[in-house]
Symmetry: C2
Subunit: 213 residues, 2 copies
């Protein structure tokens, strides 16, 4: 069980979890792999293969218990616990993420916000007071911060990440448009809006030119 899981499988599990919550809200008790596939625009075989990496959760001839599968996915994804999260960079993107309630629901607790701008340090954001990034290591240690969300300018992102990792951070969600280098024990995910837009530009520029239909 759980040998080497494709990244794409993990992301689909997140989606299945969303759908299971929807189904649970609607009062449904069971779903088939086909139901989940239709909801997520994938195939039933894909759903079953994704789940099979972690065990067998269904009953042949019936499908899956909605509540039970939802709970198993939450457990698999590590969402039954809470995560201590910091946002580094109190600019516009930092503010947007701080305000996004979705994180809290999932057990991601934002317990610090850092900025280097002395004008911002000390300013209150909801339940947080912006900290000086100079004190980052200290605060990471004190509050047991495990994940940082990086929303700094690209030029300083690598530096703050190196410091955060040395202070004990294990996971990084990077919004800075730069490729960060981290050691293997640290998990890194990138959200790069410029790349997505450029991929869109490419697709639009090559309508029909590349696709045979």
């Amino acid at each position: 069980m759980a040998n080497r899981i494709p990244e794409s499988t993990v992301k689909r599990l997140s989606l299945y979890l969303r759908y299971l919550r929807e189904f649970a809200e609607q009062g449904r008790e069971t779903v088939s792999s086909e139901d989940l596939a239709v909801r997520g625009r994938t195939t039933a075989a894909q759903v079953r293969k994704d789940l099979s990496y972690f065990g067998s959760f269904g009953k042949r001839g019936f499908g899956y218990q909605v509540g039970e599968l939802r709970d198993r996915l939450q457990q698999i994804l590590g969402l039954e616990r809470t995560w201590q999260v910091a946002i580094i960079g109190a600019g516009r993107i930092g503010a947007a993420l701080f305000g996004y309630q979705g994180f809290r629901v999932q057990g991601f607790h934002i317990v610090a916000v850092f900025d280097r701008d002395q004008q911002k340090v000390g300013v209150e954001w909801g339940d947080q007071r912006i900290e000086d990034v100079a004190r980052m290591e200290e605060v990471i240690g004190e509050r047991g911060i495990e994940i940082v969300i990086v929303t700094t300018p690209a030029e300083v992102a690598q530096d703050v990440v190196d410091r955060a990792v040395r202070a004990g951070v294990q996971g990084i969600l990077n919004f800075a448009p730069t490729k960060l280098v981290v050691s293997e024990e640290v998990s890194l995910k990138n959200v790069d809006m410029a790349i997505e837009l450029e991929a869109l530009s490419f697709a639009l520029s090559n309508h029909g030119a590349s696709a045979p239909r």
Copy 2:
């Protein structure tokens, strides 16, 4: 040339373009596939294969002309023209994206911002006045909007996208945490922060349990 290009190749081209701009700023005239590979943490063979989908731009024994390859990539990615872009949803994420200068530089011109909240309609954001989403079709037509960035709540995202597509939009960058359905002629890219965070949670929860080292 340009038969069927992997999505991953297109995204790497965006990165190579960034690196070429850096190299150009540093005054470098030539680069090898190895130089680009080191900069982007990939392999020289990968760089050459990616480029080979579009032609041969290098000189054997020398490498590539920095300026020339940069220009070719800009052209391939459709970045030599400008794109008319609208943001749908004037909330925190919409504001963050509106303020992000990176887009403008690349030729993505934000020429409209929509919201359904009458409190926001008419408010000025920089050079834009927030429009009522009820007028969306009209404005899309008038301003020749080709791409929309969706930052609405998940519940209404599909509806506004259907309307935008009917009004002529060809590309969608979706920040709403929901899977949108669009017809094949429309290009869709998703940025789903919740999924990225959950994938991070999974990776952190399975440190060593899944990876053999």
